[in-house]
């Protein structure tokens, strides 16, 4: 089996986890989670140097990741569990009382793999920059990754952080923007058109890459390019085109599945489209 095939296998299971978790509690955000399934799977299983066995908050000598758009927590939890950060069976507790798998990620309950609470949007890039500055002060050469949504970057704090990272040459940060073109009230074009994102980030002084976030070979190649672009005085951002709801046909091509759960029948269709490869939780 090629690397790409083994990653595809994990993605299929991650998609099953996402729709089963959201269905199980009849709440959560499947659309964005599915759209970024390939990206986060490749990041944790192929790109980042990290060892769940030695997990601690500091992440010294490890690559670390921050999820800024915290509502795609089903994806984050599935990838963390499938990478060995906590037992896969714990996915069944998602959003239920006394769970460590809160609706939006938190450090409050000590869930391994989570280093910051997120949910209120626009804060993760600043946090990632702070963690990256700490790595520089600690002479730790590993990288800091952060994922944001394209709706999320309507928040002003993102641009404060963007200006800072370029001015202060925080070149050990690799940010990814999930450009699925959708947000709660409609398409990003309808709600608040961000215009040419690549031109904006270039103007802010970032090294800008583009990739197809639903194409595993392209993710693998672009993330390698991003790593090579780091450490050269400029922060790196990847504008990642994705299809919200990718992998579940009736959830695609719309913003409608941003934050609603499938019913029993819809779950069956979704699972039928994504084979069980690693064993359901």
């Amino acid at each position: 089996m090629t690397v790409e095939e083994s990653l595809e296998k994990i993605v299929s299971q991650v998609r099953r986890d996402i729709v089963r978790m959201v269905h199980g509690v009849q709440s959560g955000h499947p659309g964005g989670s599915l759209g970024c399934a390939e990206f986060l799977t490749v990041l944790y299983n192929h790109v980042m140097k990290h060892d769940p066995k030695v997990w601690d908050m500091s992440g010294f000598n490890q690559d670390i990741f921050f999820l800024s758009n915290g509502h795609i927590s089903p994806l984050f939890y599935s990838v963390l569990a499938r990478s060995g950060y906590f037992p896969v069976k714990e996915l069944a507790t998602f959003r239920k009382l006394n769970t460590r798998l809160q609706g939006h990620p938190t450090t409050h309950d000590g869930l391994p793999g989570v280093r910051i609470a997120s949910g209120s949007l626009g804060q993760g890039l600043s946090v990632a920059i702070g963690a990256a500055l700490a790595k520089k002060l600690n002479n730790d050469a590993r990288l800091v990754y952060v994922l944001m949504g394209d709706g999320e970057i309507q928040e002003g704090q993102v641009w404060e952080a963007a200006m800072f990272a370029a001015a202060k040459q925080v070149d050990n940060v690799i940010a990814t923007i999930d450009a699925n073109g959708q947000q709660i009230d409609g398409s990003t074009k309808q709600v608040l058109d961000g215009g040419d994102l690549a031109a904006k980030w270039t103007a802010f002084g970032w090294e800008v890459l583009k990739m197809d976030g639903n194409n595993i070979p392209d993710i693998m190649k672009t993330m390698e390019d991003a790593k090579n672009a780091s450490g050269k005085g400029k922060p790196v951002v990847i504008i990642m085109q994705t299809e919200m709801g990718n992998g579940v046909d009736f959830m695609m091509h719309s913003h409608k599945w941003h934050g609603i759960a499938p019913n029993d029948e819809q779950l069956a269709i979704a699972l039928n489209q994504n084979p069980e490869t690693l064993g359901d939780y």
Binding site: M57, S58, G59, F60, I64, T106, T107, H108, R115, I116, A117, S118, G119, S120, G122, Q123, G124, L125, S126, V127, A128, I129, G130, A131, A132, L133, A134, K135, L137, N138, D140, G156, Q157, E160, A161, M163, F164, A167, K168
Partner: protein, 318 residues
């Protein structure tokens, strides 16, 4: 009654700057961040002595709080510096999610709190910050009274793990506490023992409470004066012990009467020992331009206001 004296007046923000400079030399993990107010916050010494650990973030306070939260992940102890208004209200959600809820070891250091910022007026004179910060689970809230105490508090909070809001100010005030004091977070300081009324003060109102105690003594009233530098966690035992003796209390603070020291004390008393209480605080309003002294007079935060409040409290208890 103990007589307090001082040799000079100094600003509490300079106490912060001096404490930060000490920390820079003592603790390599201490990092300072400032949002374009290095001189006003008296952070110049640290910035000059440790340029590698000083981060100028520009006029972008939300980003500053987020960066500070991120720095803690790598084991750093970040001290953020800006005016109290921009340290709290402007960045409440960033503090709430990225610092308090995430249990990050960030020290939010806030100068120019309250009316004594003076001529800049109400946009800059936050009177709600203690309340905002008190409401956050896990947040420690400290408002020291003079230069020496602010310096000692700055050094002490670096050793405390968890988010801290350290509030201080712009004007020079009598520097009367000992330079070598041991600052204990959450521990009230008994300034004068008395039997007729308890006066609990914080920040700039502490010296005025001492003056009020002297005036009351001349009127034959014995006032117990307590300096509460830590508003959260509050020293409940010290308050209850004193009030059990005096049976009435005056709280004094440079803050709105809602949400500040007065309310914190009232909560303790209603739960354990319901007691007559008078507030010396701003009466649910914004400030305005003026000199610090003019403003403290106009908004009822002078020594005489504490004296009158003590008389009212004593009259009500009988």
């Amino acid at each position: 009654m103990k007589k307090y004296t001082y040799t000079e007046k100094k600003d509490t923000r300079s106490g912060f700057g001096a404490g930060l400079s000490v920390l820079g030399k003592e603790n390599p993990n201490v990092v300072a961040l400032c949002a374009d107010l290095t001189g006003s916050l008296k952070m110049d010494a640290f910035a000059k002595e440790h340029p590698d650990r000083f981060i100028q973030v520009g006029i972008a306070e939300a980003n500053m709080i987020g960066i500070a939260a991120g720095l803690t992940i790598g084991g750093k102890i970040p001290f953020t510096g800006t005016f109290a208004n921009f340290s709290t209200g402007r960045v409440y959600d960033q503090i709430r999610q990225s610092v308090a809820y995430s249990d990050k070891n960030v020290k939010i250091c806030a100068s120019h709190a309250g009316l004594t910022l003076g001529e800049d007026g109400a946009t800059h004179q936050i009177l709600e910050d203690i309340g905002l910060m008190r409401m956050l689970p896990g947040m420690t809230v400290i408002n020291p009274c003079d230069y020496n105490q602010t310096k000692a508090a700055t050094i002490a909070i670096a050793k405390h793990h968890g988010p801290v809001y350290l509030r201080f100010g712009r004007p020079t005030v009598p520097n009367f506490t000992p330079a070598d004091q041991n600052f204990e977070i959450g521990k009230a300081v008994m300034l004068n023992e008395g039997t007729d009324v308890t006066i609990i003060a914080t920040g700039h109102l502490v010296w005025k409470a001492i003056e009020a105690g002297e005036q009351l003594a001349a009127m034959g009233i014995s006032a117990e004066i307590i300096n509460i530098h830590t508003i959260k966690p509050l020293d409940n035992d010290a308050i209850l012990k004193s009030v059990a003796k005096t049976n009435c209390v005056v709280t004094a603070e440079e803050h709105n009467r809602f949400g500040g020291l007065g309310d914190a004390v009232a909560q303790v008393l209603t739960a354990h020992l319901p007691t007559v209480q008078e507030y010396v605080a701003v009466n649910d309003s914004f400030g305005e331009s003026g000199t610090p002294d003019q403003l403290m007079t106009k908004y009822g935060l002078d020594t005489i206001d504490i004296v009158k409040a003590a008389e009212r409290a004593i009259a009500r208890k009988s």
